[in-house]
Every structure is written in C-alpha cells, then in structure tokens.
C-alpha cells in the first residue's frame, strides 16, 4: 500500500494532463471571458492544487492579471451571502497576490456578522450560512498572510494590516495572531507591545510538561525518518511515469 497512493497520484496527474489539454487549447474569445473561465477552472480544480495542470495554468493566468481578477472577485465577495463558493473565492484572492486584495480582504473581515438562525428546540441544526460567513472572514485573514508570503514587497503592508485586524476585529484576532506568528517567526515577539495582557497567551509558545519531552523528541525523530522513507519510495514511482 505504501507505494499505491503515490502511484495513484502520479497516474492521475498523467490523466489530468491529457484531459486538461482540451481546456488549454480552447480559443480565447475575449479577455473578460477568458478571465472568468480561468476563475471557474481555478475554483473547480483548487482541491487538487498543484497536482492539476489546469489549476496551475489558470492560477498562472490569474496571477498575471491579478488586478483584474481581484476586481472581478471583489464584487462577488462583497455581494454574496455565506457559502462554500464565497470561501473558495476568498482563498483564491490570496493566491492571486495582488496589492488591492489587502484592502478588499480587510473589508470582508470587517463586515458585520449576521445573527445565526434560532435553532429548533432539541434539534442539532447547524446554520450553514452563518458558519460559512465566519469561515470567509477567517479565510480573509489567512489570505492576507498568504499575500505577504507570496509577495515580499507587500509583506510590510500585509503585516501592518494583520496587526490592525488583530487589534480591531475580535472575531478573527486569534487567526490574525496565529498567521502573524507563522509569518514572522521569532520576530513575532516584537509585536507584544501592541497587545494587552489578555493576549499574553498568544506570545507564550505552547510546550507540553517536562515529563513528555523525552517521548516528544523520540517521536519527532521517528516521524522525520518515516517521512523521509516515504519520500524516497514515492520519488522513483513518480519518475517511472
């Protein structure tokens, strides 16, 4: 089995390449239509990510037209109610990496959250739209961080926006601080003065008690070894295709 999954992924990538050729060869009608078509492809293939040639090509196109793509998506994002599609668009805006998206994503994070529908007595109903509204706002923060990592020249601006969001939007404070930590590494500690004592926990790295440390070290070594072994098994299987 160890070899089956990587083999499967490799074979499917080949199949995807063959199927994808019809999309790539379709004649472009006009720039706007082409943009929308690449947007549709990016949404339908984002689950597969870089494993999909269609996704790679569409994302490359959308990144090369990042301002137009962001403007196109921006209208949809601010109009649409909570849904998986809205979350997908919010994710993709981060992938485009355009400067204008930083302000757009902040607008989205700032939008007032609707009230959840009252649930019937005793029924474990989930308000799907409400949940997706939260998900889109959380994703807006994550996408801002993504822009910072994709575009080093926008990093300072994105970091400043994330700090402001963490201070001003309680709903996404935790996500903003988590993303800042990931982005800045040890430098994250320099932000401590911007936050009050109630946020101190975000600046103290979580560590299990000392009695767990030996086991933790052994497991980490073992897991790195297993991953290395898996990568080595996967490489020749992929190369054989």
């Amino acid at each position: 089995m160890r070899w089956f999954l990587p083999l499967f992924v490799c074979v499917l990538m080949g199949v995807a390449t063959l199927r994808g050729s019809s999309v790539a060869e379709a004649p472009p009608v006009q720039e706007g239509g082409l943009l929308l078509r690449h947007l549709d492809t990016a949404m339908s293939q984002m689950d597969r990510g870089a494993g999909s040639r269609e996704y790679r090509e569409s994302l490359a196109f959308l990144r090369s037209h990042a301002s137009e793509a962001t403007a196109e998506v921006g209208g949809l994002l601010l109009e649409e109610g909570g849904g998986f599609g809205k979350w997908q668009l919010t994710y993709l805006v981060g992938e485009f990496g355009d400067e204008s998206a930083i302000a757009l994503l902040r607008l989205l994070a700032d939008e007032p959250l609707p009230e959840p529908q009252p649930a019937s007595e005793g029924r474990h109903e989930i308000d799907l739209a409400y949940t997706e509204e939260i998900a889109s706002r959380v994703q807006a923060v994550m996408s801002t961080a993504r822009i910072a990592s994709l575009r080093p020249n926008l990093r300072e601006q994105a970091v400043a926006e994330l700090v402001a969001t963490a201070r001003e939007v309680p709903l996404v404070k935790s996500t903003a601080l988590f993303e800042l930590h990931r982005l800045l590494g040890p430098e994250f500690q320099t932000l401590r003065s911007y936050f009050g004592p109630e946020d101190a926990k975000h600046f103290v790295p979580f560590a299990p008690p000392p009695e767990w440390q030996a086991l933790l070290l052994r497991r980490m070594q073992e897991h790195r070894r297993q991953e290395q072994q898996f990568q080595e098994t996967r490489k020749p299987v992929c190369q054989s295709d």
Binding site: G83, G85, Q88, A129, F206
Partner: protein, 330 residues
C-alpha cells in the same frame, strides 16, 4: 361566545387545508425526489449546495475524482466500507450500484455513497500508511497510533456500529440553511447508529464531512452528548467548555491534526489544509459556552504526542463533582 365559536371553526377549517410542516419539508428533499423519479435505475443525482444559489454552478465541494484514490481500488473501497456503511441501511438506494459514476461536467463523484467515501478518505489517506493502517489495535496503543490522525482513524472505526443513509434534507423549512447534517442515536441496551442527511452529501465539503463524522462518533459509543446551555451560536449543539472533551472538542482536535501535516502531503492539498483551519476556527468561535483559550498553535504537536492531547485527568477537587477533563484543560 358565538363569535369565538365561529373563529374556532374558521381556524379548524384553515388548519385542515394548510400544508403540513412535513409536507413543506418534503418539498426540500431533492435527493428523495431524485430517487423517486429514477427511470430504469438511473438517478439524476442532485447538484451541490441546495441552499446556496449559484447560477453559474461554480461550486465544487472537494469531490474531484482525481482526489478519490478509492475509485481505482476495490480493496480501498472495502476498507472504507468497514468504517460503518457496510452495516448501514439504505445505501443500496443511495448509490451502491453506481458509486463509480461522476458528473461529466466537473469530474466530481455524485452519489451519496461516493461522497461519504470521500469523507472517510480524509481519515485514511491523511495517514501515509493508507489502508495498511491496522484499525483494530487497542486505542491505548500510542506506540502504534503515534499520530492523532492514525489514532482518530482507529477511533472512528472502533466506535462506530452502523452508518445509515437518509435521503431527507432535515432542514428547518424549505430552502432553509439551518440544517441537521447528521444525527446519532445511542443509549443503553441498543446498538448506536448514525444517520446522514442530504446536507451531508451535497451542502458541505469533504473535509467538513469528515470532521462531522468524528463529531458524531464521539456521541455514539462514548455517549458524550452536548452539555452546553445553547448560549453559543451553535445552540443545541453547544458544549460547555473545551475541557469536557465533547464532540466539538474532538472535531477540533482532528481538524488541527489534519492541518498540522507535512506541507507536501500527497493527499492534504493547500486548499484542504486551509479549509481545515477555517473550520477549526468556526468551531472555536461558535460551539462552546466558555471561550476556548487554545488556538491552532497550541495543538502544533498533536501528531507527535497524541496521548498528551487526549489524556483526561481529574479536573475537580469537589468530591461531589469529580469530573475528568481533557489534559489540555481550559
């Protein structure tokens, strides 16, 4: 008095001819209608997200056939079935015969059973061992289940008795987005079972489906029910706090473990990882009465020492209330 009598009679008359709530709910059961309308065994399976109007049909809820490794392997399908659908009811109607079909426009598997497989796929293929993972060992064997993802796959397998398919939508009203995704029935002297509804297959993505299963499994054999005051946004699905180690806590633990996997993971793509992060945060914000102090960063080691995160300790010095809570107490 006469006026009151007339008003009562009018009320009875109106009530008799008013469509019942059950009738209204049926109007929303797209899947049930699709099954009833099948001709020659061919079912026109519904599209995604019944509650979310997307005229362009752009919505794809992580069911791409390329991301369904079970599609090419009968052994994998057998492994997935043994999570509980093999013992379940109604799967014959909900896609057993044509689970290999897919929507030719978007290459997404379209039957409820296939979409349930895609939920379970997140437990199986998030482990590098895939279907070679032995799910039958003791749940206390953390030398074998040495990541939370491995442990949770065994947990789901061992704590599930039966998973049933249900074609009903089970939402509040027609077109409502307030829905029951799945429901677990449990209790003494009975075998527990989980019912999955239309929303599970068509309204939510495959990562959310997987975390929902883990959530329901915590209700099943363990019989840990929601104990919140309905004061949080999830209302009757609220837990009191993180430390009660309820279904919401377990769901969050799994989402965190899914997130904290290698960046070049062959199955967990960046979009899936991002989705897990957002779902983690929606639960953190909306499913507990007491605010959860832990964030995703607090759970960074969950796939290194899972036993630390699921260990429960005595959490109260009160002899009248000696409850145990999760080691990672809140």
């Amino acid at each position: 008095m006469k006026g009151l009598l007339i008003a009562a009679l009018i009320g009875v008359f109106v009530y008799m001819f008013m469509p019942s709530c059950a009738f209204l709910a049926d109007a929303d059961d797209t899947l049930c209608h699709a099954l009833a309308a099948a001709e020659g065994g061919l079912v026109n399976w519904p599209d995604d997200e019944r509650w979310y109007t997307d005229p362009k049909g752009r919505c794809h809820v992580f069911d791409n056939i390329m991301m369904s490794p079970w599609w090419l392997s009968p052994d994998d399908r057998d492994y997935l079935e043994r999570f509980g659908t093999a013992q379940g009811h109604n799967w014959g109607d909900l896609g057993r015969a044509d689970m290999m079909t897919y929507d030719e426009k978007n290459f997404e598997v379209d039957t409820p059973l296939a979409r349930t497989y895609n939920a379970y796929s997140n437990f199986v293929y998030s482990n590098l061992e895939g279907v070679d993972l032995d799910r039958g060992r003791s749940l206390g064997d953390f030398e074998y289940y040495d990541t939370f993802l491995k442990w949770s796959s065994a947990f789901v397998s061992q704590k599930t008795y039966r998973v049933n398919a249900n074609c009903g939508r089970n939402c509040r009203t027609v077109g409502s987005h307030s829905c029951v995704i799945a429901k677990t029935t449990t209790g003494p002297f009975r075998n527990d079972y989980i019912d999955l509804y239309q929303t599970f297959y068509y309204d939510i993505d495959a990562v959310w489906r997987a975390s929902t299963i883990l959530h329901e499994v915590r209700h099943a054999r363990d019989q840990v029910l929601h104990g919140g005051s309905t004061g949080c946004p999830r209302r009757s699905a609220c837990d009191r706090s993180w430390s009660t180690a309820g279904a919401n806590t377990y769901e969050m633990l799994w989402l965190a473990a899914y997130y904290w996997t290698a960046e070049d993971h062959p199955f967990i793509t960046p979009a899936r990882r991002a989705r897990a992060q957002t779902l983690f945060e929606t639960l953190r914000q909306g499913s507990f009465d007491d605010p959860v102090q832990w964030d995703l960063g607090s759970l960074a080691l969950i796939n290194e020492i899972p036993e630390f995160f699921v260990h429960q300790a005595v959490c109260s010095e009160d002899p009248n209330n000696p409850h145990r809570c999760l080691f990672l107490a809140n």
